[in-house]
């Protein structure tokens, strides 16, 4: 494991291992197993420094926190952000890094002892974010967090389909039969439009 990756993982616990096998699609599972193994065995960030990644990961983790269900950190949103900034979001990279510097600058004065956002505990992170959550920079990080949480895992996030499972969607079923939901099921069984 290289230095930048180790630094990023410091204090954040071990990232969830590949668990696509659980979902029973052999080809897909093997593919994601291979991808996750390569990633977890020492891939470095492609476009972000370890310090930038820590900050953005901390922000994403407050936008979609780990609660009883996986949040943005668990879903590997930071890997989506890193990969996308080297891909389809590359034109926004300078905007993002400039915005990050502006975002970090007031932290030390506001929170003695801290030098950056990710140093703060969760309550202070939320307190600080509430002063920052109308900036275009925050809006862009929020967009990336949601796209990383709910986009296809091939973009680097939505690990173990955590985003889709959060929404109540079976991540591996792409064809359905009626009834689709409560109200059409009730209507089909003779109930008056589900009432």
């Amino acid at each position: 494991m290289d230095g930048s990756r180790r630094e990023f993982l410091r204090g954040s616990g071990v990232l969830a291992g590949a668990s696509a096998l659980r979902f029973g699609i052999p080809g897909l599972a093997a593919l994601s197993q291979a991808a996750c193994s390569a990633r977890d065995a020492g891939a470095a960030f492609e476009t972000l420094s370890a310090g930038e990644a820590r900050e953005l990961d901390a922000m994403a983790a407050r936008i979609l926190p780990s609660t009883g269900t996986p949040g943005a950190h668990d879903a590997g949103v930071i890997w989506f952000i890193d990969k996308s900034l080297g891909g389809f979001l590359a034109p926004q990279k300078d905007f993002l890094l400039g915005g990050l510097a502006d975002f970090q600058a007031p932290v030390a004065a506001a929170f003695p002892g801290a030098t950056q956002f990710s140093d703060l505990d969760e309550a202070d992170q939320d307190r600080y974010l509430r002063t920052q959550d109308t900036t275009p920079f925050f809006g862009f990080v929020r967009f990336m967090t949601l796209a990383g949480m709910f986009g296809m895992a091939s973009y680097g996030g939505n690990r173990d389909s955590a985003g889709w499972q959060l929404l109540g969607v079976d991540p591996h079923q792409h064809a359905f039969l009626p009834p689709f939901g409560h109200y059409d099921a009730a209507a089909a069984s003779g109930d008056n439009h589900g009432e």
């Binding site: 407050r62 936008i63 979609l64 926190p65 609660t67 269900t69 949040g71 389809f88 939320d126 974010l129 959550d133 929020r142 967009f143 949601l146 796209a147 949480m149 709910f150 986009g151 296809m152 091939s154 973009y155 985003g163 889709w164 959060l166 929404l167 109540g168 969607v169 792409h174 064809a175 359905f176 039969l177 009626p178 689709f180 939901g181 409560h182 109200y183 059409d184 009730a186 209507a187 008056n192 439009h193 589900g194 009432e195």
Partner: protein, 554 residues
Amino acid sequence: MASDRQVQYANDDVVDFVVVGSGAAGGVIARELSVAGFSVVVLEQGPFRTAADFTHDEIDVVFNGSLLGGPAARDAQTFRDDESKVAMPSTFRPPAEYAQTVGGSSVHFSGNFWRFRESDFQERSLLGPLSGTTFADWPITYDELEPYYARVDWEVGVSGAPGPFDAPRSKPYPMPPMPVKSSGVLLERAAEKLGLHAQPAPVAVLSKPHNGRAPCIHCGYCMGFGCETGAKSSTLATMIPQAQASGRCEIRPNSTVFNLPTSARGTVDEVLYYDADGKQQRQKARTVILSANGAETPRLLLESASAKHPDGLANSSGFVGRNLMFNCHSLANGVFSEQLNDYKSIQVTRIIHDFYESDPARGFYGGGGIDARPLFSATPILFSLAGMPPDAPAWGSEFKKLLAHNYTRQMSILGSTTSLALDRNNITLDPTHKDRWGRPALRLTYRDHDDDLAMAGFLLDRSMELFDAAGAEQSWAYPLEPQTNGAHLLGTCRMGDDPQTSVVDRYHRSHDVQNLYICDGSSFVTSGRGQPTMTIMALAFRAAEHMATAARAG
């Protein structure tokens, strides 16, 4: 690749017809003419994707606009809401939204296939003039178009059942309606309470096997996506394979037409285009058909200005590019206590047409339809960004909890309305911005008429009443604002009997250029009530019949 199994013509072969565009109109015309025995080349600016190329990749399709041509296509258009302003490119979706792929926008549409009614063709006579507009009757009637609507039903494939206000039909639907979703059941429940009439939505999606095609698997990725099973009745899934199988039609993808030169005798004998490598090519033809959509078609005519046609080809009327109509829209969302799972299956299964006709008692011109659909709650990223209630926090644990609760419990009620034809709403060539070929960007100038917005507001009020009647736990209306982009591109080369006030005649032949036909959304005289593709296809069947007759007669 589907283009490997088809006839190939040389650029200097004088084919009977060259068709610019392979969408709802071009695909139908190509099939009709090639099956009738004519040689046809279809030039399509997008690639030849087939069902196997379509994905559920929301980032690629929705955010990168891959089917729309990606960022290059977005940068090739500019928008302004008034001609006194400088038009600017959009930062997200292109102002004129259409798919660049074989099959055109019929590949990525949601497939709502409402026929027009008798009144749509004669509204100017029925209601009288409207000052400041170019409101006019069509030169054809519903009865003249009806046999071609029936052909679309059967040959393209439409599922549905007649509703109480529908215009007469000569044949039944070939397939029953799609299974009703929870959003449709809730709309029915609400409509009954309010004395309205919800009816099954006619859709260009197969509810049963039809014409050798398999039915819908209810995957949910209709709106904006290509259909991976071919159950959506795009021309890609229906007409184009039949055109290729005739042995007389070549679909030539990655071919961007940029000029229609006029010959000394006043005809268009060839079209100029850029091939996949950006090299200029030409295709010779006896007859040229423009079916490039209501934005690209007028752009191409304006770009083909010459000494003989200084204001643009086929534009002696000055109507090329004018009278652009998007259809106006209203949107409300509601949350219910139980799961709808409206991300499954097609967008719309029930509609309300009680407000279809213009009613002077409302105090403004206009009519429209209401439908129930997931809209934003069909796909997760769009939902998380745009679908949440206005009082929801934008981040944090409560935001996350609401995402999880609402995704399967939300639906939208969408209103679609008429647009009035206005000279001020138009397609022109941008004086400064260029596309990747160096051509002037396509400039849209558009602001909804006050009556269109008033009609959308009327439907929004009805939508909120419907949510109350349906028992929604929460509902909210999206602010009604003038539109800055449109996926329905109508009216910009209107048909008519008078060459002074129309671009093509009742058979889609240019008034000015005898071997040039124009058939697509640009042919519309009025906008209908928000679902134009069924009518584009019916017009194309009818136009092709006339083109074949005229060609045989020489």
